[in-house]
Amino acid sequence: MAVIRVEVTPKQGEGMRDVRGDSLRRQLLSDHAVSATEVRSIVGFLIKSDISEEEIAKRSDDLFTDPIIETGFTNTLAMSNSDIFPTAPDCVITIGFKPGVTDNPGKAALDGFHTIFPQATDAEISTYITYAFYGLPSDCDGQWLAGTIYNGLIQRALVSDSVACAAGTWPEIEFPERPPQVFTTPETINLEISDAELEELSYSGLLALNLEEMQTIQGHYRDEETRNLREAIGISPDAPTDVELECLAQTWSEHCKHKIFASKIHHVDTETGEDTTIDSIFKTHIMDPTHDMQKDVDWLLSVFHDNSGVIAWDDDWSICMKAETHNSPSALDPYGGAMTGIVGVNRDILGTGLGARPIANTDVFCFGPPDWEGDLPDNLFHPSRVLRGVHAGVRVGGNESGIPTVNGAIVFDDRYIGKPLVYCGTIGIMPRRLADGRESHIKTPTSGDMVYMVGGRVGYDGIHGATFSSLELTEESPSSAVQIGDPITQKKMIDMILEARDSGLITCITDNGAGGLSSSIGEMAEYTNGCEIDLAKVPLKQAGLSAWEILVSESQERMTVAVKEEDRAAFDALAALHEVEATPVATFTSTGIFHVKYNEMTVAYLPIEFLHDGVPQLQLESEWKSPQLESFSVPEHSDHNELLLRMLARPNITSKETWVRQYDHEVIAQTVIKPFVGVERDGPGDAGLIAPIHGNPHGIVVSCGIAPRYSDIDAGAMAAASIDEAVRNAVCVGVDVDKIAGLDNFCWPDPIESAKTPDGRFKLAQLVRANRELERVCRAYRLPCVSGKDSMKNDYGSGEGKISIPPTLLFSLFGDHPDVRYTATSDLKGAGERLYLVGTSKQELGASEIAFMLKESGEAGGIGGEVPQLLDPESQLDTYRALSKTIQSGLVRTAHDCSEGGIAVAVAEMCIGGRCGANIDIDGTGSGDIWGRMWGESLGRIVIGVSAGNEADFVEAMAGHSITLLGISTVGNTLSITDGYDELVELPVEQLVTSWQGTLDLTGGVA
């Protein structure tokens, strides 16, 4: 088959412009201070088919070129056309994909090609992009320039430098041919080797299993009964096949089995003298409290065991939520890693019960500082590039899937340079009962059901993701662990599966994420106690994959769905309608065996019980000793005006609007509170609020809390602050505090003591303290954790240069809102609103944003001191309940969470949203000094605004709770803050706006 090249470039002039090129020009200016006068772009297609050049050229305007706005070229390089490109540029760079990397434009082009040339069934299309740079600085190196825009892990780049350009020599990229894969017959691995050799086998094979686990596997194959059964079925009796060893490594990975949370921990507190053993922090501090709460309420339908936690929302609908992290892949390829993160968690929702519909996303990112000027370790991207890539991946994944992003946060700290955290969450909805009477949150598989693989195909991409994420990042991290999502293939699959669910065709469903088919079918096989898979039936992206690769590949956009024999025809017909590939690859059995075949050959024969429960419990050591930190001491002379403007510009406080506005937050026509609110729609929203049933004002609140820097003092306080922040944000929009559910997503540095991690005991003690606080606060708030996840190896490198993230808990919350017509937003609603502080300020400045700012600038010595504590969560809940009711009744329309930057920042943000001034007095708001009351981050505080007419009712409704009158919103556009007679701040609101909006606007201008 011949390869035909088609190139397309935007027309210029008469109002037409090359926007793609111009965006890159502005990005170079913003990120690298490299100024080019012009950048032009060319999109290229390499079409491998039996269709002739003439035929393709004739139909190019029907498919590749939009004749109104573009000029197309067939089998000639656009750059060589002197009418279109009259002058030689300084540099030309062409970027294409490496072989085997997902090429979504190529896939779409192929689909369109088949519309026009249906006979071209074997065709393949690969795409690329070419940029021509004009007016570059003379010292700008072409290879360096290429390095700023392409990722060598997944892409190829060809460069014509100024000399080549002057000579008219342009890059001519070729079709990325995949190297042939060689199918290797499953091998038998000899485990009768020394302990050292077992460890080496685990290490070199990327199995990520420790010695005890390797020995447990060794022991399994020494068992007489096992050997007899294996002999009878015709598989190596006394040694695992590579398929089995890989399958066990995936299933037993930290990523899948959460071995640290399940471990037995010997915990010592050197300060209190405590010396105890904790048998599984997950069971003790997360699962048991939720199960206790489940006895008291009737709305906790499904917790922990499914892909997401499910709660009853009303009589007709249930809702569910799940959050995941995709940290390691996002470090290697920010765009692809983050995109697979968001579309992956969407599949968790689709795989809940008998299939829920994803209706809202949340995204929380932790990055290094975007303006970082220090050194970067090898193989790591600059934080601004990570931010751009992750943002783009999540944007494309969410927007193209038609799921609104309703809530999120971006947090910055130097230590996230080593590993960015990319949390992606999704809320789903499903009818409580299907037409056939089954409750949708309960899976109903039976032995004999056919198991389909639905959606994408299996490829070499995505091998070893689960085990890889269970290791620290190194320079040699494998590129096969990186993938790019394909949202449209997944969207088609979601449409199809929801129709299949409503037709009653699904008995069981789960997603294919970490561990691929070995995990998805393996987990579902627990229901019927057995399955038989034929790997030869699995559709492949390319021939030649070996059996173990097919079993563990994490290729994206796949669901595993069980269907009764009699429903197969209907299921197949739906798949055909939606143009979704659905292939039966397995059958549920009740043999007790995870039985894998390749055609007739048995390649794995593992008892379900051993596969799922065979992993030995880790025994870990934990020792707490408070970190010794220099205390935060306030500067003697300070101008609070100047401090406020600097604080508003801090990356952790500044507006993220230019980024967030690029997410579709309103598709589905349900989003009541947008991420940005107020007169100019640019004030911060506290929580997402959606009304997903059209025409009905019944709502769902979505919020989050994250406070990683408190871990510098105490990870327990960090956890309590995260939970309180999530609840506080939800209260700000009027959540029903008696129907809220939470998700705990822990991201930790490796807490297992070893040569690589000498401080493992301390890091584990941080985990213990965080979980103890999680239990204490959640029990007091009657806030069940219904789902969660942990990612426990967030370190880069080892030894001297090792970078460990601060222990980070993201707490996500979803809850009920009785009527979205009565809610509140943070913007001041005009002059004359009475402003109250709900809650009390204490002298809690330890690890606060002001402490970090002044330490970084050298104005303060340290960040140590009193970190915010939640001393009485029971009465706090009562206050939240009372406040939420004043919002639900329409008394209060203005409320804003008080967190980073304290009251000063909270009120400033309310002024920004309302484009309205305020006079406030912080005297009497708490026991601390001016700094504590102005900048302190004490928990449990919300600033509200109430109209003069509603004030008396508000005060009465809040009787018995701590509220303090702060002041009033004003006609003048000035924020004035005093402490009694001391004037602290006097600033025009427009100046607040300017400071708050500048820092993260990395757009390089609008156009």
Binding site: F64, E400, D664, A669, V679
Partner: protein, 286 residues
Amino acid sequence: MVDTPKVAVLFGFGINCDHETKAVFDLVGGQATRVHVNHFINGNHSLDEFHILAVPGGFSFGDHLGSGRLLGNRMRFALRDQLHAFVAAGKPIIGICNGFQVLVKTGLLPGPAAGQDPLPDFVQRASLTLNDSGRYEDRWVTLEFDSNSPCIWTKGITRIDCPVRHGEGKFVLPDNTDFDMLAANNQLTVRYVDPATENGEGITDELLPFPLSPNGSMRNIAGVCDSTGLVFGLMPHPEAVYAKWLHPDHTRDTAPGPESSGVLGEWEGEGLQIFRNAVDYAKANL
């Protein structure tokens, strides 16, 4: 005369506003069904079973090769006769956002020039291209409608607020005389306007700055109709403001809505009237 007009709301291949588009037609007295595009292509359903066709927003085929292009091609090649017959029968079609892009790429919009055979000839005459900002954005805009437009969808509507959510919404025509012809026939149905202008006086040909015009669209065009007024497309999302509680000003008690009480009582949003117009038109004329 039809009591309850049947509305086909297309879905599949990445269309993603199908649920809310169905909902708004149902709210105003239509009977809407989400129908997969392939049902019409395979012959399981025929367009003539329906009175109104809606092509909702979304990311059909990921907008690769240009927004709306690939879905537009499927319709142009496989549904040509059905679409021609639909317009010939006097039935309304709306395309919103990605749906507008699809209708432009199929040639249904702006369609043949006034004075010629007005039925679809499937010739692409305009395009929607990347926003000047280079960014996909979700933001609220103010729209004003040409009160003399033949468009049956926009009768009696002067101004509404609603969100845009697109990366390729800049409407372009190859040359100015094309604009003048469309303008003369009042087919430049809806434009982005500055909300500070007086109601009814916002429309201007002068390019508005970002973000008043979110995309740099020529003559600030947000949507156009064909010369029959039956086929209408626009980039913004009127279905996303079917209720006042979806308007960003609703906690400020200043969210605009219809003067008389609507289907949601005092909570009906401004966007619903567009869909009611088509349902009422179908009731009166089909």
